[in-house]
């Protein structure tokens, strides 16, 4: 029994139960027909039996089991209650007590073997006349019952949780009063007062801590159930799963423990059912046959972190997207644009389940959304990360307690010269930001401060270490008039709301305090900017800001262009075209260029003096690496003047692909806009996709792949692990789409053979040996399926895997109609997924046959 906590709880509970049992037995002797009473006695034995079994106390379990048998006979009416039976049962109670005492003293059951008692109980349950042992006359039973004293059972009492809640509230009040007294005594002279208030301070803090502790429970209380759960899931699914628990003694508030019980169970069940693969699959993937689910709980920064991880198959984001499209949660065109993280977020949408079949364990599509809702309700967050093929980790961040939280006090307006009547708009006002949501504080001073927050259209942004951080002014969010007081300094609180970060500009930053959260009255409940209110040390009321609410509100204000607004995006079903966020910039003769912001890794400024020349290329030392810089204008129009590279500082848009990075030098960043764009006019110029109207002006869309491709001489390349000579046939009608795919494939190190029709593709295949064929479903000259059929007729092409390229995830629904036709289905534009599957297939092929002739053919 490693876990002393559990044993201790078991002892307290069992002693309580036994005491009740004795009373009930005595009562039962008087009213033997009271079935309810009998049922209660039966239940109590049953509970004890169950717990003993769980903890591995075999003797206890045996005795309890036999006693339970006797009682069940009584309950079913096959025996009548006699005082002889009662004595026998009470005797069993005594034996149980003796064992419990022995466990308490030495951690083990008493040495006595209760075989005799068990035998007699068994006989009694079979209906034989019961024989009392001499040692168990009723008088003695009572005497021994009274002897039970001392030890754990007496050092602990059960307290009503409501009483603890009330104590907690009172302590909250006391903390506030303490804060006020402290502030008051700081202004007064007098050693006696200050000494007393110091003492009050200490005692209050200790009291607060003590009362908080009374409500703390180890998380193990919830975890106890998991081994059983995992075992059941494993059996039901025919898998082998080991469960690892770490940090079961991590304590948190009882109310929070209650709240996380269900979400936790759900996640673990999901891990077992969806996460861990079946044994055959695992062995096939080179993993140990036994899957592993690990739970880890620990304290970090005033929060409890619970990580639930499995070493299963991970989340197949493609499947998730396809499923989401199938369920009508998102549209195919939205799905195409989703990144890895955003796709994972789909799992949290209501009505989502990736399990292919609904099992009795899970898969009914009620799940992760409920998990998230429940966790967020108690101020926690859920984060899901997954590596396809390697496993999934869910990370829960939970506050320790809900009643008293640490918060940062910030101010608006001038708080030094307090307006005495406190009229609206005059004087300063305090607000509290919950520490949980605060990522960091940025303080900008002097001249630089004024220019550091750039406004592009309605969106204010700040470059935080190169990342664009959307910024909102608290004053504006709250609709307050007036301007910031002498703003030679700017304070930005960087806040975390769900997956996005934003900066909140406040006018003053005070200190961090423990604050007591009080609810707002009914009239103010509708304001989602506030999470509640608290009373400050000076007795004034301060509003607690609700970071999520503010994020939503500033989303309205600034047009919310952060990366993971998938959900709200998806709910805007009525918007005809989904908008995308574009970064607009100027480079040389190109006045207005655009690139999707989602592709941009960072925006950087480098002093010209830092730009070096290496092997005739511009480079800059950047984060311990050498970042190649490419003047964009010269790629788009060779020979044009390099205006971007001679500015000081130079402006660079950094793109990254895995470990590789490249910086495109541009003249000026213009704007960030949300717009629904379709390329209106295809451009013939290399490096441009075409022109479109973005933000009401004609804008050239950068063909990022092409640009990077032509700059690939300088692309900071670390050799990609590509099977040697892997050749991909790209059969696709659209030149535009082919161009993009070709670039991505070549960048990833593949040789590419292109074909624009089915006939052309077949001719090419006859000439060149390819490892993988990628064909569009709408391939000119018969379509993808017909092309596949023709291919399959040729025995020399039999082993070549064919991937289908669908315009939207909806097309893949045909998969069911023609099973096994294609190796895999890809959605046009999802480059990463395509590269992954090609890579996988090509390497399998390569291991089977000799490397093919390296050939590149253009279609």
């Amino acid at each position: 029994m490693e876990d002393q906590e559990i044993v201790k709880e078991f002892l307290i509970e069992s002693n309580d139960n036994l005491s009740r049992l004795e009373q009930e037995m005595v009562e039962l002797e008087r009213r033997p027909r009271d079935t309810e009473l009998l049922a209660s006695v039966f239940r109590t034995f049953h509970t004890i039996k169950g717990t003993c079994g769980f903890l591995g106390y075999g003797k206890l379990e045996r005795v309890a089991h036999q006693a339970e048998n006797v009682l069940s006979q009584l309950r079913s009416g096959s025996q009548t209650f006699t005082s002889g039976l009662a004595s026998l049962v009470l005797e069993a109670v005594d034996v149980l007590r003796r064992h419990l005492r022995a466990i308490e003293a030495g951690g083990q059951e008493a040495a006595e073997d209760s075989a005799d008692l068990c035998r007699r109980l068994e006989e009694a349950s079979r209906g034989s006349a019961c024989t009392l042992s001499e040692a168990a006359s009723p008088a003695e039973v009572e005497a021994s019952a009274q002897k039970v004293s001392g030890g754990v059972a007496d050092s602990a009492i059960r307290v009503d949780v409501h009483l603890l809640d009330k104590l907690m509230n009172l302590v909250g009040e006391l903390v506030l009063t303490r804060n006020q007294i402290l502030q008051f005594s700081a202004q007064q002279e007098g050693a006696a007062l200050s000494a007393t208030s110091q003492r009050l301070n200490l005692i209050t803090s200790e009291l607060q801590e003590g009362v908080m502790k009374t409500r703390m429970q180890p998380i193990g209380v919830v975890w106890n159930k998991l081994p059983r759960l995992v075992r059941d899931v494993a059996t039901a699914c025919g898998k082998q799963i080991a469960l690892e628990l770490e940090g079961a003694d991590t304590e948190m508030d009882k109310t929070i423990i209650e709240a996380i019980k269900d979400p936790l169970t759900h996640i673990v069940r999901n891990c077992g059912d969806h996460g861990i693969e079946r044994t055959e699959v695992r062995l096939g993937r080179g993993k140990p046959a036994q899957g592993r689910i690990s739970l880890r709980a620990f304290h970090e920064g005033g929060q409890v972190i619970i990580e639930i991880g499995d070493d299963g198959g991970g989340v197949d984001t493609e499947k998730v997207k396809a499923k989401a499209v199938l369920n009508g949660l998102i549209r195919p065109d939205q799905a195409e644009r989703l990144g890895e993280r955003e796709a994972l977020n789909l799992l949290f949408l209501p009505g989502f389940s990736t399990a292919e079949k609904v099992t009795n364990v899970s898969g009914r599509g009620v799940g992760m959304d409920v998990v998230r809702t429940n966790i967020e309700k108690i101020g926690g967050t859920v984060d899901l990360s997954s590596r396809f093929g390697e496993g999934t980790t869910v990370k829960l961040k939970i506050p320790l307690t809900l009643a008293i939280i640490p918060g940062l006090v910030v101010t608006l307006g001038d708080c030094r010269g307090e307006a005495p009547n406190g009229k609206k708009g005059k004087g300063g006002q305090h607000f509290v930001i919950p520490q949980v949501s605060l990522v960091e504080l940025v303080r900008l001073e002097g001249e630089a401060a004024l220019r550091s927050i750039e406004r592009i259209r309605n969106t204010a942004v700040y470059r935080l270490r190169g990342n664009l951080l959307p910024v909102v002014y608290l004053r504006e969010v709250l609709g307050l008039e007036g301007l910031a007081v002498d703003s030679d300094t700017i304070n930005i609180a960087v806040l975390q709301a769900e997956d996005r970060q934003f900066g909140l500009v406040v006018e003053g930053v005070k200190d961090t305090q423990e604050i007591v959260v009080k609810p707002l009255g009914k009239h103010l409940k509708g304001l989602n900017c506030y999470a509640g209110a608290t009373i400050m040390g000076d007795g004034r009321v301060a509003l607690i800001l609700d970071v999520m609410g503010i994020a939503q509100k500033c989303g309205e204000v600034a047009g919310g262009h952060e990366r993971t607004r998938v959900e709200s995006d998806m709910r805007l079903e009525n918007v005809a075209d989904t908008k995308q966020t574009y970064l607009l910039f100027r480079a040389g003769p190109f006045e207005r260029l655009a690139v999707p912001l989602s592709l941009v890794a960072r925006l950087e400024e480098f002093p010209l003096s830092h730009v070096e020349r290496a092997a005739n290329h511009l480079v800059v030392q950047y984060r311990g690496q050498i970042l190649p810089l490419v003047p964009l204008a010269q790629i788009l129009e060779p020979g044009s003047a390099d205006t971007a590279g001679s500015q000081d500082p130079v402006q660079a848009i950094v793109f990254s692909d895995g470990d590789r990075r490249i910086g495109l030098l541009v003249d000026q960043l213009l704007d960030i806009v949300d717009d629904a764009v379709s390329v209106r006019q295809v451009s013939g110029r290399k490096g441009l996709l075409g022109s479109a109207v973005i933000g009401k002006l004609v804008t050239d869309m950068l063909d990022l792949d092409a640009v990077i491709c032509s700059a690939s001489g300088v692309w900071n390349q670390e050799e990609a692990e590509v099977p040697e000579g892997a050749t991909v046939m790209l059969a696709e009608g659209s030149t535009f789409s082919r161009g993009i795919l070709r670039a991505s494939l070549e960048m990833a190190g593949y040789r590419v053979v292109e074909a624009s029709t089915a006939a052309e593709a077949l001719t090419q295949l006859a000439r060149v040996k390819v490892n993988v064929v990628v064909t569009a479903l709408d391939l000119p000259g018969g379509g993808g399926y017909e092309f596949l059929e023709k291919m399959r007729k040729d025995p020399s092409l039999a082993g070549v895997p064919v991937l289908a390229l669908a315009a939207s995830a909806g097309d893949t629904s045909q998969r069911a109609a023609q099973p096994g036709a294609f190796q895999d289905y890809l959605i046009r534009g999802d480059r990463d997924a395509m590269l992954r599957s090609i890579h996988r297939l090509a390497s399998v092929l390569n291991s089977q046959s000799a490397a093919p002739e390296p050939t590149v053919e253009k279609g």
Partner: protein
């Protein structure tokens, strides 16, 4: 919900035909609230304004550790604001939905009124006021308007008072 509301207001209106009223002045109007509903009466309290709240919500006050919403009666009744320098008094009332403080100009005495002096509010009374008044007691020297606290605290209905 609606039904119980109606019943309770009927009950309280019959209760308020006679009894003791805690009285106060708002812009020259003489109001009364059933004394049993009034928790306490306070001088001006320091107020924390709540940005974005309905205009009638003047702010939050700290009532011995309890945070109480303060509603300005002048705003609520659609009357002009108090002149600069005049501070409001608090009439703290207990309601089913918690404690709310009504901001008024002056606090009056507790007066006793007979049911015989009670009358429904006249039809031609300014609707902004009429909607929030149960009736009028004709006292010897002046008229006492009996405030309907339920209606007063209900911001989503009533007399078209702008909430923003």
């Amino acid at each position: 919900m609606l039904t119980t509301g109606t019943i309770s207001s009927l009950e309280s209106s019959s209760r308020s035909l006679s009894g003791q009223y805690s009285t106060f002045d708002v812009a020259g109007f003489y109001f009364g609230i059933d004394v049993l509903q009034v928790q306490e009466v306070l001088r001006y309290q320091r107020m924390t304004p709540v940005p974005l709240a309905p205009a009638v919500i003047e702010g939050l006050i700290n009532l011995r550790g309890q945070i109480v919403t303060a509603m300005d009666m002048r705003q609520r009744l659609g009357l002009p604001p108090r002149a600069d320098g005049e501070t409001a008094m608090n009439v703290v009332v207990r309601t089913e939905e918690g404690v709310v403080s009504l901001l008024v100009d002056e606090i009056g005495d507790v007066v006793e009124a007979e049911s015989s002096s009670f009358e429904r509010p006249p039809e031609n009374l300014d609707p902004a006021i009429r909607n929030l008044v149960r009736g009028i007691h004709k006292l010897k020297d002046r008229l006492l308007l009996v405030l309907d606290t339920d209606q007063t605290l209900k911001l989503d209905t009533g007399n078209g008072q702008s909430l923003n």
